[in-house]
């Protein structure tokens, strides 16, 4: 706010050049953004289009696609299935990994880190394609084929090591003096866990929960393998049935379903990040 500074540059050419440069930069950014945003755009427009193609275009507006999807017996069901699987796994993963991570963080066992790394490595195999046959046989043996529980257990087993890994990091950064302080006041170990440790690592628990839901929501292989009846199939599997016998995708159904399929995950991320604030370490939001 000094009077000595000229309002505009004395040289008349400069503003024009700066303007051109600015326009150029924005144009470039817009193009790059558009490239990456196109699939999203398609997801937002195609469901409302009477005859959607594989290109994003201004829709010939209609809600008929939603009505058609509503009539498809498996579509709505499948979202409920996905929800059961995701929530079931998330609850199991959070509860088990919290207990395991707490113990691993507080008790020193010889070879603890090696054990964790080995588990992490193996876990990617457990839920991977390589273990398809053994998993199916095991589930058949335990009478867990075509049950949600079977899918939840297999997915939980696969996700636990990584979840323990993430949570142990949170627990490690929580000062022991919090717990010792509570112990001196007479709190039992479970009480300490409930009153002190869990609230302090809540952002970590939220991270693991959301991550588990997202993983399970998008998992195709395990439910495809273990759930035999079509009415139990989760969304990721049902999507696969929206093809004609000739292998042609039914774009109207697929796009509409994709939109419904992705919305819950987006909403969950927004909710949890507002509620807990994803931060990687300890502290608690006021």
């Amino acid at each position: 706010m000094s009077a000595a500074t000229p309002r505009r540059p004395a040289d008349g050419r400069d503003p024009v050049r700066a303007l051109l440069r600015g326009v150029g930069a924005y144009l470039l950014v817009a193009l790059v953004l558009a490239f990456f945003a196109l699939p999203m755009l398609w997801l937002a427009s195609a469901p409302f289009d009477r005859r959607p193609g594989i290109t994003a275009s201004l829709p010939d507006f209609t809600l008929a696609n939603f009505a058609r999807l509503w009539d498809n017996p498996n579509a709505v069901n499948s979202l409920a299935s996905s929800l059961v699987l995701a929530v079931g796994s998330a609850v199991l993963v959070v509860a088990l990994s919290a207990l395991a991570a707490y113990a691993l963080s507080r008790v020193h066992i010889r070879g603890r880190d090696g054990l964790l790394y080995a588990l992490l490595l193996l876990s990617s195999i457990v839920t991977g394609t390589a273990a398809m046959v053994p998993i199916f046989l095991l589930a058949a043996e335990l009478d867990l084929v075509d049950s949600y529980l079977g899918v939840i257990l297999v997915l939980t087993g696969g996700l636990l090591p990584a979840a323990i890994f993430i949570l142990k990091d949170f627990m490690d950064t929580t000062p022991r003096s919090y717990e010792e302080s509570a112990r001196v006041f007479g709190a039992s170990p479970l009480r300490v866990l409930r009153d002190v440790v869990v609230p302090v690592v809540r952002p970590g628990l939220a991270t693991v929960g959301v991550w588990t839901v997202a993983q399970v929501w998008g998992n195709f292989l395990i439910p495809f393998l273990l759930l035999r009846s079509p009415d139990k199939s989760p969304a990721a599997v049902v999507m696969y049935t929206f093809y004609t016998e000739g292998g042609q995708p039914d774009l109207a159904l697929i796009s509409t379903f994709s939109l419904l399929y992705s919305l819950p995950v987006v909403l969950m991320f927004l909710f949890v990040s507002r509620r807990y604030g994803f931060r990687l370490h300890g502290g608690i939001k006021a």
Binding site: S181, P199, A286
Partner: protein
């Protein structure tokens, strides 16, 4: 009545580190007791063993006559303030203060009233709804104190409660804590590695070195008559001068750097001619003289440090021996000047093999 008695208390950590070796100690009821020692000497271990956070590997701990050695921390009726305060970050100040009461199943209304009252007492009244993260270091410290106070324990244990405060706050907190302890009259053990803090606050001080007690006594006793050269060099803001010497013929004087100094009264009976001793005298107990004096150390001034109301003068004696003297502000000597340092006879001490010569049994812990 809540005195604390340690009986041959020992702690060996799983790795084989011997942190406490056979300590015998009694802390009296209502006493403000300081555990003082250099880093790693076992102060925290001792405090944590009192609290029950560490299991003793030998000996026993009695609180108010009750053997608590095997009791879990929650059953000992103690409260501990940790160095990092350990306030729960997800609870407000009031909730933090009320938490011990909640565990003791005190009703909700009573709990809240007690928390508010204690917070008020410690000047935290307007901060009750804040979280620890929104408090200054001094306020956090008082919140931690309030939490310890609210459950009316028999014993307070403080692990370096002031070390996270800046120098000015620390002085304030020192006075505050001492006054508070006096008012509450609760037996208090506090750990510090700052000798000035221990002398200023405690009724009695225990000086520790590598897991053992070197001396237990009032601040005055420990300051005036350190029982060993270790305690002597550890206590005092300017370390004691410890000068190698030898008893001259007749046993009436000690020869230090070519000068003969009188032997202190209490030590005379225990010494004989030719004994190698260490002559100990605090810089505060040396009188400065610009004129030659007989029974005095002499040398040239090599360094003058300003202490504010006095000067700390380093005198380089003949033979290269360095002696520090506190000189009143009006006598500031020039560097290079000649000077004499006269020991106050009743404050000079003699050490043989690191131990005080002529110490009374009370001064040397078993």
């Amino acid at each position: 009545m809540a005195d604390i008695t340690l009986n041959r208390l020992a702690k060996v950590y799983p790795g084989g580190v011997r942190a406490l070796s056979d300590l015998d100690l009694t802390v009296r009821d209502g006493e403000f007791f300081a555990l003082l020692g250099p880093s790693g000497c076992g102060k925290s271990t001792l405090l944590r063993t009192l609290a029950g956070l560490e299991e003793a590997t030998g000996g026993s701990v009695h609180i108010a006559g009750q053997d608590v050695t095997a009791l879990p921390p929650g059953d000992r009726d103690i409260a501990m303030v940790f160095q990092d305060y350990a306030l729960f970050p997800h609870m407000t100040v009031h909730e933090n203060i009320a938490y011990p009461l909640k565990i003791k199943k005190v009703g909700k209304g009573e709990r809240a009233a007690k928390a508010r009252e204690t917070a008020e007492e410690l000047g935290l009244g307007h901060l009750g709804e804040r979280r620890p993260g929104q408090l200054s270091g001094g306020q956090q410290q008082r919140a931690a104190l309030a939490r310890a106070m609210a459950c009316h324990p028999r014993v307070f244990l403080f692990d370096e409660p002031l070390s996270n405060l800046d120098a000015r706050m620390r002085l304030e907190a020192r006075t505050f804590l001492k006054k508070l302890q006096r008012e509450l009259g609760v037996t208090t053990v506090f750990v510090t590695h700052d000798q000035a803090e221990a002398l200023a606050m405690a009724d009695r001080v225990a000086v520790m070195e590598s897991g053992a007690l070197r001396q237990v006594g009032t601040p005055t006793e420990v300051f005036r008559r350190p029982a060993s050269t270790f305690v002597a060099s550890f206590i005092g803001s300017t370390p004691m001068n410890l000068l190698d010497g030898e008893l001259v013929a007749g046993g009436g004087a000690v020869r230090v750097s070519g000068r003969e100094l009188p032997v202190p009264d209490g030590a005379r009976a225990h010494l004989k001619e030719g004994d190698e001793v260490v002559y100990g005298v605090r810089p505060e107990y040396l009188r400065w003289s610009e004129r030659a004096v007989d029974a005095a150390l002499s040398g040239t001034v090599s360094v003058v440090e300003n202490l504010g109301s006095a000067h700390l003068v380093t005198l380089e004696c003949d033979g290269g021996l360095g002696v520090q003297v506190v000189v009143p502000e009006e006598h500031e000597p020039a560097v290079g000047a000649r000077g004499w340092a006269v020991p106050r006879e009743d404050r000079a001490l003699l050490y043989r093999d690191g131990e005080l010569v002529g110490a009374t049994p009370a001064e040397v812990p078993a």
